[in-house]
Amino acid sequence: MQKLLMCAAGMALTLTAVGSANAQSTVKIGMINEYSGQFADTGNMIDNGLKLYMKQHGDTVAGKKLEVIRKDTGGIAPDVAKRLAQELVVRDNADIFGGFSLTPNALAAADVSAEAKKFMVVMNAATAIITTKSPYIARTSSTTPQLNFVLGTWAAKNGIKTVYTMVSDYGPGIDAETWFQTGFKEGGGQVVGSVRFPVANPDFSAFIQAAKDAHPDAIYIWIPGGTQPAAVGKALAERGIDPMKTKVLGQDALGDETALKSMGDAALGIITVSDYDYSHKSAMNQEFVKAFNDEYHRNPDFFAVGGYDGTHLIYEALTKSGGKTDGDSLIAAAKGASWESPRGPISIDPETRDIVQTVYIRRVEKVGDKLQNIEFDSVPNVKDPAKERMKH
């Protein structure tokens, strides 16, 4: 027993010595995410993506060891997110910020990134203006305009003449509505009606009935993930809307795996736009899905891929900058980076530091006995349209 204690003490001493010696050659990544509360699932999936990448590629980059510090915002809390970012700089000496599912939190942390000149990788939040708030931000997820503008344009070009739009009444939903309608109208379509639901809405039947009354070719629905997609699917079935006849269009959350399981066959035919689905057919994705399932026993989603690719960007930027961790070197290295992701080819636009990727149009189909989103159309190299238009 005594010998064991001596061994342990000896090990502890050496470790602390080694640890303190390595203090300068550690790169600290501060993950500011929602690890608890109603958005916890998205935060945890992003984190899973990060962990998987680090497991597959080791935690040493450019001769330096990576350390991850996790901070929980608990939900929509920009004051907390800002404080956590400040503490990461002041208390923990973090070099890089990562994570960010929610726009208000990302915007608040952006101020700190700009002032303290820290490289910040946004791995999920989708509002277009985020990357403009600090010159050190790069994004590896998607933007709401990028996805919805493409869907609107596609819909107009593919035989849908009239649409009724329904979105959640808050920032991202309104954003989605604006860009979908812009794409659709520019493609020659006509919006016959629109409605906005309250954010925490449990019951959709009234709204779906109103949509049905307007007899549109298609209904466009935007709701956040969580419990709402399944509720919408069921309301559609209850009000007798068959997605095979009246097209139902939406963004990725509507085709989320758990939502499909809850909706059952009522979901067949729903068309969604996204940057990633686990059924995407590519060798890299199949390996990714298998590895993810082995570690976490569930399929990856676009949150996980955002985390995975965000981590890749951090690794690539560090390698290119030769291990330098200041904001200027890292963002310079990140600009123009391009690589093959499980979702397809992606790159970081050197001007806007935002993501450029292939946007997929998918339909819910039955594969074996499971419902999946099967990609049947795509638009490659889509830049964020919001910033494209800001230039002119």
Binding site: Y35, P78, D79, K82, Q86, P104, A108, Y170, G171
Partner: protein, 329 residues
């Protein structure tokens, strides 16, 4: 009445008003973070702001018996007012404070007409309803409030033109601590005045008060408006020190959190809100750092432990222990 019969009560009240050594020690201790833990100053400033908010709730809950589940409405109104002024170019901190206090106070005054009429569950639910309606209204008025994304473009000018709000939080902490202390002095004076005594009478036995000539409705409206003003000041300070405001500043979560903090610290003791806020926020920060996914569990355990071991909150329990220690043989 001869001075003989009033001497006892008067002396008792005067004794309560004097500054005890524990109070002085408390306020001196609030200066410690500046020297001992400078990397925690941002957290400390947010604790000071929440403590001020809890103080405002104590005035209506602890001292007057008005349970409100929607008090964050005034906090949020103060925050948005100060934030909006700043985005329009008037970023002077004191101007923002005054504006926030005024708007919140006005709204508090208007709602006090409704609040003064009800007690018990009806009052709790009405205040909850008011809070939720205000939050929805702020969401709908996205063109003004920035909606879900929050208000953007807030920039607080340096205090007196010299002290910038820095990354470390020195200015933020001094600012919020000073605000807390000054408002606390006012609240303390208020509580130990005849008005404050009348409030306590209303809390204990509302029906009896008119019999001794105290206008119940008018007093409730006054204290509610004052509490709204203080909450508005706290909200404005948060907007200014963090340069962010979002809908959750008005939300149910914030109202519920401050209520929990106040009960934790002990109601009706002025310091209960301050201590409750400090303990809750520090515990939350520490638990969340150790266990980001399940810190709720430890907080829940903390709350249950406090309520089982220390009735009437931390201060209530501590004073009980102190009394027992004093009367022990």
């Amino acid at each position: 009445m001869s001075t003989q019969t009033t001497a006892g009560p008067v002396r008792h009240l005067q004794a309560q008003f004097r500054w005890g050594w524990s109070e002085i020690a408390f306020w001196l201790a609030t200066l410690l973070p500046l020297v001992l833990t400078p990397s925690y100053l941002v957290l400390a400033s947010q604790i000071a702001i929440t403590a001020l908010f809890a103080l405002s709730l104590d005035l209506i809950l602890g001292f007057s018996g008005i349970v409100s589940l929607g008090h964050a409405a005034y906090f949020g109104i103060g925050a948005y007012t100060a934030g909006l002024l700043s985005t329009r170019g008037w970023g002077d901190p004191f101007l923002g404070l005054a504006a926030g206090a005024l708007t919140a106070g006005l709204f508090g005054y208007v709602t006090s007409f409704v609040v003064a009429r009800f007690r018990h569950l009806a009052l709790i639910m009405i205040t909850l309803g008011i809070g939720l309606v205000v939050q929805e209204a702020a969401n709908s008025a996205g063109w003004l409030t920035g909606g879900f994304d929050g208000l953007q473009g807030i920039h607080t000018l340096p205090i007196f033109g010299k002290f910038r709000f820095d990354l470390y939080g020195y200015t933020a902490y001094c600012y919020s601590l000073a605000g807390l202390f000054l408002v606390f002095l006012v609240a303390r004076r208020l509580i130990h005045s005849p008005f404050g005594l009348a409030l306590r009478g209303i809390r204990e036995n509302t029906a009896r008060m008119p019999a001794i000539g105290a206008p119940v409705h008018a007093h409730i409206q006054t204290v509610y408006t004052i509490a709204a003003v203080i909450a508005g000041i706290a909200g404005a300070m948060l907007a200014q020190t963090t340069e962010t405001v979002s809908l959750e500043a008005l939300g149910f979560q914030r109202s519920a959190d401050v209520l929990v903090m106040l009960i934790l610290g002990g109601t009706g003791r002025l310091y209960g809100g301050l201590i409750g806020a400090a303990v809750y926020m520090v515990a939350r920060d520490q638990f969340s750092g150790l266990n980001p996914q399940y810190w709720y569990f430890w907080i829940g355990l903390l709350l249950i432990a406090v309520v089982m071991l220390l009735p009437n909150g931390l201060l209530g329990g501590l004073s009980l222990l102190a009394r027992r220690a004093r009367t022990a043989p």
